[in-house]
């Protein structure tokens, strides 16, 4: 059932640019970006049991990586930019994780939040390096060496770039699928369930938490790179704590207890936000209300709702 659902979703996403108006197609790009970022985020949250309130830090590193590479270093290759952004995120994540994974629960959350705010103020204050509140422009990259110079910006984004990102989502999704079912993934679950018992079974708890943290940072950076290219700008808001909160929101909305939950959350959040923003200026209020309802009534998120409905349909 799940495989059929995933294949149908990929086919639908591949056909989407042909069917929908460009506005909606450009909305899917951030959903791809957040989808990848949240797959990583949920390895730490859902699978390892560590809830970070600072992972926008790594999304921002991905975005600024793309900005610095394209605007300042003159690097045009998207593949190279991804590699640079990802490496930068992992490099920053090592010291952050070394300190953070010594703690769990709220202490871990607060520490990651602090690192996120630290990075935000760095982006904001160091004007010469980061461009301050205006940030840095992100130039259009080449895909596999192809510049698509004849396409205007939107056609590029909803054309080749769209399919490239869909491909990235599928590849990173498959990799994560393997990771959570691997011996490594099982160790993470054991750590989440009972870290003391895991230690006595020979599991190096902190080290495994660290590795999970690095993988999550890498995924967030890939997401951030896509976001920045889509917007054409990297700005400090990306690292702000409310953005970290949105990552948590999306994951809970989709359902952190299932593999596909974060992906469902990313897509629903982007479309929900866009529809609510168009309908009312109180969209934040309605988003908050929806989150409250989800947490109280469907702690397993939209995926949980879907499962319940599916079971009812099958029984009839």
């Amino acid at each position: 059932m799940r495989i059929a659902f995933v294949i149908a979703a990929i086919v639908a996403l591949a056909a989407f640019p042909k069917l929908a108006t460009p506005y909606y197609v450009t909305l899917v790009l951030p959903a791809f970006a957040y989808g990848i970022a949240l797959l990583g985020f949920n390895l730490l949250f859902g699978y390892t049991g560590l809830l970070s309130f600072g992972h926008a830090l790594f999304v921002a590193i991905g975005a600024y990586g793309a900005a610095v590479a394209s605007s300042k270093l003159g690097i045009k290759s998207f593949e190279l930019i991804l590699l640079l952004s990802g490496s930068a995120a992992v490099a920053v994540a090592i010291p952050v994780a070394l300190l953070s994974v010594r703690y769990v629960r709220i202490f871990f959350g607060i520490l990651t939040l602090a690192f996120g705010m630290l990075f935000h103020s760095f982006l904001f204050k160091f004007y010469d390096i980061t461009g301050g509140d205006t940030g840095i422009r992100v130039l259009r990259p080449t895909l596999f060496g192809n510049a698509f110079a004849d396409l205007d910006k939107t056609t590029f984004l909803i054309g080749p770039f769209y399919y490239y990102c869909l491909g990235l989502l599928v590849v990173f999704g498959l990799l994560m699928w393997r990771i959570v079912r691997s011996p490594f993934g099982l160790h993470l679950l054991a750590i989440r369930e009972n870290s003391r018992k895991a230690e006595y079974l020979g599991v190096r708890v902190r080290f495994f938490r660290l590795v999970a943290f690095l993988i999550s940072a890498l995924y967030c950076a890939v997401g951030g790179t896509i976001l920045a290219i889509n917007v054409g700008q990297a700005d400090p808001e990306l690292a702000y704590w409310t953005h970290s909160g949105e990552l948590v929101f999306m994951t809970v909305l989709g359902g952190f207890t299932s593999f596909l939950g974060p992906l469902v959350g990313a897509f629903s959040f982007i479309f929900l936000k866009s529809e609510l923003m168009g309908a009312t200026q109180y969209w934040r209020f309605w988003l908050g209300a929806i989150l409250v309802l989800i947490v109280v009534l469907f702690p397993q998120g939209l995926v949980g709702v879907g499962r319940t409905l599916w079971d009812k349909v099958r029984r009839k």
């Binding site: 990799l175 011996p183 099982l186 895991a198 006595y200 020979g202």
Partner: protein, 258 residues
């Protein structure tokens, strides 16, 4: 008889309070050594020192000839000593198969394998079946640990320690919280399993003197942080002074309560 575990002159002090005061003992292959003593005698401290969790203030503690003072649980497991706790420690949302697999993977040092499939690993499945069968859990391989009965949870806890293929296993009151009818069943199961799994020595911390008398090959009695007696069960229970010091107190207390 070669000594697997040796301590000599182990001392552990917390400020003024001396929990262990010159404990010297040795545990060899084929032994099941029970550690007994009244509450506060230092049993838990000794066990924590023997398993490398606590670093003694003085003296040495060796496992297979290597100093293990304060090495911590992970290295201890890797070197071949497993520990099961008095309170049940399980992974509530993992199945019996997954729980055993956690230990088997860590024992094979394959935890950093990011892309292999646990479910499709036939050797891992076989190992899980094998260990589960020893403890009569083979019919529950796909049950979630949280849904097992209390006795089964206890067995799973111990089974996962066995899946490390340890040379020494330390059992901290393995039958606590189990009905007295089941106690002997669990002990017999564990001792049998140990023999079959190639465990070379068992250390048992136990209050129940019936179990201690029946299964131990040697009994170490602690009192106020010192070794009061270190003898085979027959000699141990033949000495009225020791009985008074170790068992008498419990009997006396129980009599008062009744």
């Amino acid at each position: 008889m070669t000594a697997l575990i040796e301590t000599s002159g182990v001392r552990k002090a917390y400020g003024e309070f001396v929990a262990l005061d010159g404990v010297t003992l040795s545990i060899g292959e084929g032994e099941l050594v029970s550690i007994v003593g009244p509450n506060g005698a230092g049993k838990t401290t000794l066990v924590n020192v023997l398993t490398g969790l606590l670093k003694p203030t003085g003296g040495v503690v060796r496992f297979k000839g290597q100093d293990i003072a304060g090495i911590g649980p992970v290295l201890l497991a890797q070197r071949g000593m497993a520990r099961a706790f008095q309170l049940v420690h399980i992974f509530p949302q993992l199945t019996v198969r997954e729980t055993i697999a956690v230990a088997a993977i860590s024992q094979a040092r394959k935890g950093l394998n990011l892309f292999a499939s646990v479910a499709k690993d036939e050797r891992l499945r076989e190992r899980a079946r094998e260990v589960a069968a020893i403890f009569g859990l083979e019919g529950k391989l796909d049950s979630q640990a949280a849904l097992l009965s209390q006795g089964e949870k206890k067995l799973l806890d111990i089974a996962s320690a066995f899946a490390l293929a340890p040379e020494v296993i330390l059992l901290d009151e393995p039958t606590s919280g189990v009905s007295s009818a089941d106690k002997h069943g669990i002990m017999r199961n564990v001792v049998d399993a140990a023999r079959r799994a190639g465990v070379k020595a068992i250390i048992l911390v136990e209050h129940d003197m019936d179990l201690v008398a029946e299964y131990s090959s040697r009994i170490v009695a602690l009192q106020a942080g010192r070794v009061l007696a270190d003898r085979p069960p027959a000699e141990f229970f033949a000495d009225p002074e020791i009985i008074a010091a170790i068992v008498g107190k419990r009997v006396g207390r129980l009599a008062n309560e009744a």
